[in-house]
């Protein structure tokens, strides 16, 4: 069970650098998720781990051994492709057993007749057969062993692909967006199955996805990537509660973290439209007397009240959109009163903020309201770089 180590890895295609100076240390038995938007380099990263793509500079180590030049089959890995990559002309049985077929392959097996005979013989071998059956049972494919991939559904094909990976009993499992071709319901079912598999198998998984829900639910550690640069490496909780920059803050969490520009003055926050809030006692804040910052507050830390009256420690706002989801309502709002602002009603704008309110809340778009922000555990980001600002609990003034 190797400990995977990335040491200054970069990747360039010609002059175009797609992955920049990537370093990380991944302990055993982790479920590492490489998370990021399309084109961020996560699949390239995975393929470098597999040995399907060459590493430009830097070292990749499995358990302390540099594996940069090693062929995939020597690395003791298994790879599940996004498109499953099943051999269309082989049966499910032969697909799953294929790695075993290859490990038993001798040079003279290249001869035409010998080849077919040998393949049949290997498939009938009791040991091979037992392994295939075991994997098929685990993947609930026993009834499909003699079918061709073409006749299987997406979910079944995916399980065959996973089965093919399992049979080799590798030290590392690499999965490239395996769920993105499945429908929503199947996806959540397979998420649970893959997590269970990870527990059962007890080996390291490296999993690529653009879906932050998958990352948060399945991963034990997440690497967030954007444009070839690691944004953050941490556990799901670390990434959620203390995002390293504005990108991670907006990428993780649904709805995304609200980022609000304001001015920090000592322990007060002054908002562009004039509202002011005080940071509660004991709440950490950046160590600065006066600076512009970006305040980050999660949607579930905001409460909305349909009142016109301005109470203390609240901000005036007006409703843009209200979505009732059953267990909660997601309210999109903008700060300031309705008065003279042109409405667009989309939630995509950055100065539209979102709150999650438990239960049902009747609010009409356009109505004025007041908003209370719970600033404990709020994040602060630099207004130019987007980087997280270090915070400290101010000394108690007695």
């Amino acid at each position: 069970m190797p400990r995977i180590r990335f040491n200054g890895i970069t990747k360039s295609f010609g002059d175009h650098q797609v992955i920049k100076a990537f370093s990380a240390d991944v302990p055993d038995n982790e479920f590492l998720v490489l998370l990021g938007p399309s084109g961020c380099g996560k699949s390239t990263m995975l393929r470098m781990i597999a040995g399907l793509t060459d590493i430009t500079t830097g070292q990749l180590e499995f358990d302390g051994t540099v594996v940069n030049g090693t062929e995939p089959k020597e690395r003791d890995i298994a790879f599940v492709f996004q498109s499953y990559a099943l051999y269309p002309h082989l049966t499910v049985r032969a697909n799953i057993a294929f790695p075993l077929l290859m490990s038993r392959f001798k040079p003279y097996h290249h001869l035409p007749v010998v080849n077919t005979l040998m393949r049949r013989r290997v498939l009938r071998d009791p040991e091979v057969d037992a392994q295939v059956r075991r994997v098929a049972e685990m993947m609930e494919l026993t009834d499909y062993l003699d079918r061709r991939p073409r006749t299987l559904s997406g979910g079944q094909r995916q399980r065959v692909a996973v089965g093919r990976a399992l049979i080799r009993e590798p030290s590392v499992y690499l999965l490239d967006e395996p769920l993105s071709n499945l429908d929503a319901m199947l996806r959540s079912q397979m998420r649970a199955e893959i997590t269970a598999l990870h527990q059962r198998v007890g080996k390291s998984f490296v999993y690529v996805t653009h879906d932050q829900v998958e990352a948060m639910t399945m991963g034990t550690r997440i690497i967030v990537l954007n444009e070839g640069v690691i944004q953050q490496y941490g556990t799901p909780k670390e990434i959620y509660d203390r995002p390293a920059n504005a990108f991670v803050a907006r990428f993780i969490g649904s709805p995304p973290m609200n980022l609000i520009r304001c001015r920090l003055e000592g322990r007060s926050l002054r908002f562009p439209d004039g509202g002011t809030l005080q940071l509660p006692e004991g709440c950490p804040s950046p160590d600065s007397l006066e600076r512009d910052v970006v305040l980050g507050v999660r949607a579930e830390r905001i409460s909305v009240a349909p009142s016109d009256a301005v109470a203390s420690e609240t901000l005036p706002a007006h409703i843009v959109l209200s979505e009732y989801l059953g267990a909660e309502t997601v309210v999109a709002f903008k700060s300031g009163r309705r008065a003279d602002q042109a409405e667009q009603g989309t939630v995509a704008e950055h100065d539209v903020l979102q709150a999650r309110i438990p239960g049902e809340l009747h609010l009409t778009p356009g109505a004025d309201c007041t908003v209370r922000l719970d600033l404990t555990n709020a994040s602060f980001f630099d207004i130019d770089s987007g980087e997280r600002l270090p915070v400290a609990v101010p000394e108690a003034t007695t």
Binding site: K73, I77, P88, L90, S103, R164
Partner: protein, 313 residues
């Protein structure tokens, strides 16, 4: 490109004139194909029937309208003719050799051309030349290359100490020379078809095989070959039928000689009509050739169907 298969199916379910549609709509497809049908009937069907009729007569070239009906006499005389048997043998040998040669060279070329390398566009362009070059021009160059005394082939062989031959005049080598020229002419077509098939193979399949531990040969056999086989089968059929028809290269290089060593069926058909003046017999030979093509096509059709079913695709 691979979508065309499914599109064909959906397109076929297209405009189906309902009973209440006006007569114009119903007639439309027939109007569209009218020109083609007339053409086929007049310029292909009629001559074909005429040819069939001719094969049952003793018409001579010098008096084409004065033939008398002699029933199947032409055919029976063919089947007792050792020369005709020899012609059939030559035809089959030539076809098999040309088709196998073109398929192998073409496939090897396609495999080599699959995958990027510098100068690939240039190489691909040059590899299309043989297909583009008109047969007559090809014949002119090849007969010069094959020239016994001054041709470059013999010069090169001689300079490295190998035997020189009269490629087009020596009965032992003439069929080989003609086959070589034919394979040269025809392999680019195979290459292009196989290359297209190879390029339709998803890259991930190769990678999966690599991860599973398959070496290069195994990757080709497990991943690429299943995609190639349907294309190869169609190409083999086309190559075979075309080899039965191929006239210019053989006629202009050797006229079927020397001593009938390159005398394929089409050459015989032509010679019988325009040299021996026996139109009836020539037509009979032509009909035999047509039968041969039909048999090959039918065999192919069944083999292809069986294979496609076996591939469960």
């Amino acid at each position: 490109m691979t979508d065309v298969g499914t599109e064909t199916r959906t397109a076929a379910r297209a405009v189906d004139p309902t009973p209440r549609a006006n007569r114009g709509r119903r007639l439309a497809p027939y109007l569209f194909i009218a020109a083609a049908v007339v053409y086929l009937l007049l310029l292909t069907g009629a001559p074909l029937l005429d040819g069939l009729w001719l094969s049952l007569t003793d018409t001579q070239l010098l008096n084409p309208t004065a033939g008398t009906f002699i029933g199947t006499h032409n055919y029976s005389s063919l089947f007792s003719d050792a020369g005709f048997a020899h012609t059939l043998v030559v035809t089959i040998v030539y076809s098999t050799a040309t088709v196998l040669g073109a398929l192998s060279v073409g496939t090897v070329a396609a495999v080599a051309m699959n995958g990027a390398f510098r100068g690939r566009v240039f190489a691909r362009a040059i590899l299309t030349f043989p297909w583009a070059v008109p047969s007559v021009a090809a014949v002119l160059v090849f007969s010069w290359i094959y020239n016994k005394d001054s041709g470059v082939l013999n010069h090169t062989l001689g300079s490295v100490g190998l035997a020189e031959h009269g490629w087009l005049v020596d009965p032992t080598w003439s069929l080989f020379a003609v086959t070589l020229a034919s394979v040269w002419k025809v392999f680019p077509f195979v290459m292009l078809v196989v290359l297209a098939a190879l390029q339709s193979v998803p890259e991930e399949l190769y990678e999966a095989a690599r991860v599973d531990g398959a070496d290069a040969f195994n990757r080709f056999r497990t991943v690429a070959l299943p995609f190639l086989l349907p294309a190869l089968r169609v190409t083999a059929l086309l190559m075979t039928i075309w080899s039965f028809r191929r006239f210019e290269i053989i006629w202009l290089l050797t006229q079927g000689g020397p001593v009938g060593s390159t005398n394929t069926l089409v050459i015989s058909v032509y010679r019988e009509a325009f040299v021996n003046s026996d139109l009836g017999r020539s037509a009979a030979m032509g009909v035999v050739g047509l039968l041969l093509s039909t048999i090959v096509t039918v065999i192919f059709f069944y083999v292809d169907r069986a294979a496609a079913r076996k591939e469960a695709l």
